[in-house]
């Protein structure tokens, strides 16, 4: 068992070292694409960490991403970079904690609607603050961060997210979340503080999303609320995680990689009908692959088929 873990760890480290070389290729287009791939991989994995076991469908990804990006826009020139990231993470965690405590008692569909509304609420708050208090509508991001820096930071974050997810899955908290996902009433009667467990994981997941937003912010030189809080991100991440399969840690990446490439292609070719295409892809996935690509792999690998129970189907 521990030999397997060691072998797996070594493979992961080797892959990480190889991936770290991508900026050395010296091709700006590939680097940009690699950044997109990592960005969505981290976002979708973080999404799945919370929504997979609990089956709460969150559309708040954009909200946290935006909080991270805006923290950089405001503090980027004032504080040293590590402190900016730390502040962003702390802000994301605080917002997530408040939102979690006030919404995770809601069930299913109310939670989806609330998280969608939350993004809009935070965006409007930022607009109001900028217009009335700081009297600017957009901000220039002047930080000394190159595209390669962005890539390496995302790569470290990717590794950290997988490590964290693996540790949580093996922990009592991870087990608690699986029980909650199966039956919340039973979970409570087993002595699980379900609110705490859900808020804890929601906060961890949101903090990661906030960090992605902060790391990505220097990619734009100019930020305004509509750029930082682009709700398309929430939907794309949701679709990716569902396609990959949110019930496994390694599921969302299986959706994030092909769909990032596809979206890149589609948004360039069909900028006007992109949203409609997105909707159709979403329907297809939920209809044809309710357990995602990960579920498909599991089905193929278990020849004597125990019928897989249906999970997150929005």
């Amino acid at each position: 068992m521990s030999a397997r873990i060691a072998g797996f760890g070594a493979t992961a480290l080797a892959a990480l070292a190889l991936l770290a070389l991508v900026p050395r290729l010296g091709n700006a287009y590939y680097l940009a694409l690699a950044i997109s791939l990592l960005q969505y991989t981290v976002l979708a994995t973080a999404w799945g960490m919370f929504s997979g076991p609990t089956r709460y469908v969150s559309l708040a990804t954009t909200a946290f991403f935006g909080v991270g990006a805006y923290t950089v826009a405001v503090l980027g020139e004032i504080l040293p970079w590590p402190l900016v990231l730390l502040t962003a993470a702390a802000l994301g965690a605080i917002v997530a904690g408040i939102v979690g405590l006030s919404t995770l008692r809601l069930s299913g569909v109310y939670f989806v609607i609330f998280t969608f509304g939350l993004t809009e609420l935070i965006r409007q708050l930022v607009v109001w603050f900028e217009v009335n208090k700081s009297r600017v509508l957009g901000r220039y991001v002047f930080v000394n961060i190159t595209q390669a820096d962005i890539y390496w930071q995302l790569l470290v974050l990717t590794a950290a997210v997988f490590l964290l997810g693996w540790l949580i899955a093996r922990s009592r908290l991870g087990f608690a979340l699986r029980v909650i996902g199966e039956d919340e009433t039973v979970a409570k009667h087993c002595g699980i503080n379900t609110t705490f467990a859900k808020v804890a994981l929601f906060t961890i997941s949101a903090t990661v999303m906030t960090l992605v937003g902060a790391i990505m912010a220097p990619r734009w030189t100019y930020i305004e609320p509509s750029i930082a809080f682009n709700s398309m991100i929430s939907f794309q991440v949701l679709i990716m995680a569902l396609l990959g399969g949110a019930h496994r840690l390694w599921g969302p990446v299986l959706g994030a990689v092909p769909l990032t490439l596809l979206f890149e292609l589609l948004s360039a070719r069909f900028p006007n009908t992109f949203t409609i295409i997105l909707g159709c892809i979403f329907l297809l996935i939920v209809y044809m692959l309710p357990r995602g690509v990960a579920g498909l792999f599991e089905k193929l690998s278990t020849t004597a088929g125990g019928k897989p129970t249906q999970r997150v189907a929005a």
Partner: protein, 249 residues
């Protein structure tokens, strides 16, 4: 059974809960002594499950107190009540379908305080599997189990925490005669271990075989209380059941 030895495990007084205009539990009082099996009877809709939901914290009472080992637990969150030593099963059996039998039972003990060392927990799971008759099924997904095995698994999960008080909501319902005999023996063995039980049950042969005392509810109120044989021959009880479930079902 010794009704007057020490603090009662459960003391309920003035318990009330309404849903809109319907008073599902109305001014309910009773106590359950250490080691006792207390039957909670009554026709469908008389408020038995609601009473269990109030005791286990699924529902908040409108009024009244619920003391578990002397501590008032009325209105506490169910996970806190569970950690204080209360476990239950559900009228419609609830197991964790996406997990195997071992994990189902582990869910029952993993969140109790203080935490058991892993090796001890595994040992207890083995003992419980054996005890409810699921030995050898530990890696079987709960979704694949037959009805009685699901009931067994649910009971094992409830027992995993070594509860001081166990609430069973029609746990014997829907079993065939031979399964019923096994179920009755199983519950009787729990009493021998000193577990205190509140048994909601329609199967009268089981009530006679297992319960030291019974209370009978009708429309949310307690209409009879006493030793099992006396309660079951009470004229008011027989009347309450007419049109409901026959007393000698």
């Amino acid at each position: 059974m010794s009704q007057d030895s020490g603090t009662p495990v459960l003391t309920i007084s003035g318990l009330r809960r309404a849903f809109g205009g319907l008073v599902a539990v109305n001014d309910l009082d009773f106590t359950v002594a250490q080691g006792e099996i207390m039957g909670l009877l009554g026709p469908n809709g008389s408020g038995k499950t609601t009473a269990l939901n109030l005791i286990s914290g699924v529902l908040r009472p409108d009024a009244g107190t619920i003391r578990l080992m002397g501590q008032n637990i009325a209105g506490l969150a169910s996970y806190r009540i569970a950690r204080l030593g209360l476990a239950r099963t559900f009228q419609l059996v609830r197991v964790l379908d996406g997990m195997d039998c071992r994990e189902n039972i582990k869910a029952g003990l993993a969140f109790q305080r203080p935490h058991l060392p892993a090796s001890e927990a595994e040992l207890r799971i083995d003992t419980l599997l054996d005890r409810v008759g699921l030995a050898g099924h530990d890696r079987r997904p709960a979704a694949d189990l037959t009805y009685i095995d699901r009931k067994r698994l649910e009971l094992a999960r409830a027992l995993a925490a070594k509860p001081r008080l166990l609430l069973l909501d029609e746990w014997l319902a829907g079993l065939n005669p031979s399964e019923l005999a096994i179920g009755i023996d199983l519950i009787r063995a729990l009493r021998a271990d000193g577990i205190t039980i509140v048994l909601v049950e329609h199967v009268m042969s089981a009530v006679r075989a297992l319960c030291d005392r019974c209370i009978v509810m009708s429309s949310g109120r307690k209409i009879a209380e006493g030793a099992t044989a006396d309660v079951l021959s009470d004229a008011a009880v027989v009347k309450a059941y007419l049109g409901g479930v026959a007393v000698d079902a």
